[in-house]
């Protein structure tokens, strides 16, 4: 593998974005959706997740380490690009730019979100419906969360499209086109799930 570091890191970055980070995102949005069934339903679901066996192991190896690598290497990728959508006004070039932009917005959002919830929980706060309701009580924060959720879901969905290309699954233009439709449908569907959940706290 000597001399192949860049190839390895790029592929690892692509893989980790989907497995496990992407899967965790979907799970997280689905669990949050319990909020639409009322505070009690959400608290029960959150409590269940909180009491999963091997919680710290799962958090470290399924969430934090992969997320940290994906974020840091992703920043490097984002800042080595020289965006040129004004000169090359093509759909995929826009998606290329938006993937990098949404990655940066998502990183800011997720950092803030982890600080506000998981880190506060480590300091002794209880993560429940009330905590989120207090956060999004502020319309500014609600707006920030809506933007953050849409950005995160876009980054995941469009990243899924790139994942299929990067691993050589979608090769023909036709399969890449269909993949665009499918991943954008995922973007819309997951956005609805995420926005419904956050609005349930507001």
């Amino acid at each position: 593998m000597a001399g192949n570091r860049e190839f390895f890191y790029r592929r690892l970055h692509s893989l980790l974005g989907v497995i496990p980070v992407g899967l965790f995102l979907v799970q997280h949005l689905v669990v949050n959706h319990f909020a639409t069934r009322g505070p009690e339903a959400f608290n029960r679901a959150a409590h269940f997740m909180e009491n999963l066996p091997f919680r710290y192991f799962l958090e470290i190896f399924v969430i934090f380490l992969p997320l940290l690598f994906h974020a840091i290497y992703g920043l490097y990728i984002a800042f080595t690009a020289k965006n040129n959508v004004s000169r090359y006004n093509y759909f995929r070039n826009w998606m290329f730019m938006l993937q990098r932009l949404s990655g940066i917005i998502t990183l800011i959002f997720v950092t803030w979100h982890v600080w506000e919830t998981r880190v506060q929980a480590a300091f002794g706060a209880e993560v429940n419906y009330e905590m989120m309701a207090n956060i999004v009580d502020n319309p500014m924060m609600l707006g920030f969360y809506v933007l953050g959720i849409i950005s995160t879901v876009f980054h995941f969905s469009n990243g899924l499209w790139s994942f299929f290309v990067s691993w050589g699954i979608t090769v023909t233009p036709r399969s890449q086109q269909i993949s665009t439709y499918v991943t954008m449908a995922i973007f819309v569907a997951l956005s609805i799930v995420g926005i419904r959940a956050i609005l349930a706290f507001a």
Binding site: M1, G3, N4, R5, E6, F7, R10, R11, I77, F79, T80, A81, K82, N83, N84, R87, Y88, Y90, R92, N93, M95, F96, M97, Q99, W161, S162, V165, S166, W167, G168, I169, T170, V171, T172, P173, Q176
Partner: protein, 254 residues
């Protein structure tokens, strides 16, 4: 009306030396029917006087075949990289803006140094080794259907337009760009070339290789030869995935 127009206006980005700052100079030259950018540049070379009527140095550019097969005369024309030999004046909005392809080091005016592409072709072994110490005999035959398919990939003239369009080919990255990658697919498709397939794949799995592609797909939109560059890249992605598995887990297909 095009035919009544007496002159053609140009705004050309010029640069005297590789390390000197670029500047713009305007030119107004007499219109002739069926002109292309090259014949206009030849007119400027013949009579190097700018739009203000001042005598200036002739604009430097490169050209060779004049029929869009050599790639030498590539430059950015009205914002898009393309060959100046096939850029017809009648089809261009005026004033016509000419710039060098800045992805490459500028030598002078519109002339750039495309060496990095030729270095990349060496790096990825974009040739078929047939020399030996004795006659190796004829190689395996190539099916006609495959030859026709491969011909499309062989149209690449190393013009540099795809590198110019790619957001990931820039001074901050060492990405070799779409053109040399597609050549790996071409030479790996050849029955004799396939004997060195793994070597080429491993070359593009190195630094600045295939994995640097960010799928903006500007290359396939910009290629003057219509080469399916993004299909090549995706096909190679599949090949290197398999190659990486072989390298790590082991395989008898050396």
């Amino acid at each position: 009306m095009m035919s009544e127009k007496k002159t053609v206006r140009f705004i050309i980005t010029r640069q005297d030396r590789p390390d000197s700052p670029p500047y713009e100079e305007e030119f107004e030259i007499p219109y002739r029917p069926n002109m292309n950018v090259i014949s206009a540049l030849m007119e400027i070379r013949r009579n190097p006087v700018n739009a203000k009527g001042e005598k200036t140095t002739p604009v430097v550019w490169e050209m060779n075949c004049l029929e869009e097969v050599c790639g030498a005369c590539s430059m950015v024309i009205n914002g898009k990289p393309r060959q100046s030999c096939t850029a017809l004046i009648d089809h261009l909005e005026q004033p016509i803006r000419l710039e060098p392809m800045r992805t490459f080091p500028v030598v002078r005016d519109l002339q750039v140094d495309r060496s990095r592409m030729f270095d990349s072709l060496k790096k990825v072994k974009a040739w078929i080794p047939i020399d030996g110490t004795h006659d190796l005999g004829p190689g395996p035959r190539m099916p006609e259907r495959k030859r026709q398919w491969a011909y499309e990939l062989s149209k690449c003239m190393t013009c540099g337009v795809c590198l110019e369009a790619c957001p990931n080919v820039n001074s901050k990255s060492n990405f070799i760009g779409p053109a040399p990658l597609s050549q790996v697919r071409l030479f790996n498709a050849h029955p004799t070339g396939a004997m060195n397939k793994a070597e080429r794949l491993e070359a593009i799995m190195g630094d600045g290789g295939l994995a640097n592609c960010g799928n903006s797909q500007n290359c396939v939109q910009s290629c003057p030869k219509g080469i399916p560059l993004t299909t090549s890249i995706a096909a190679l992605n599949r090949e290197v995935t398999i190659q990486a598995f072989r390298n790590f887990f082991g395989s008898d297909q050396v």
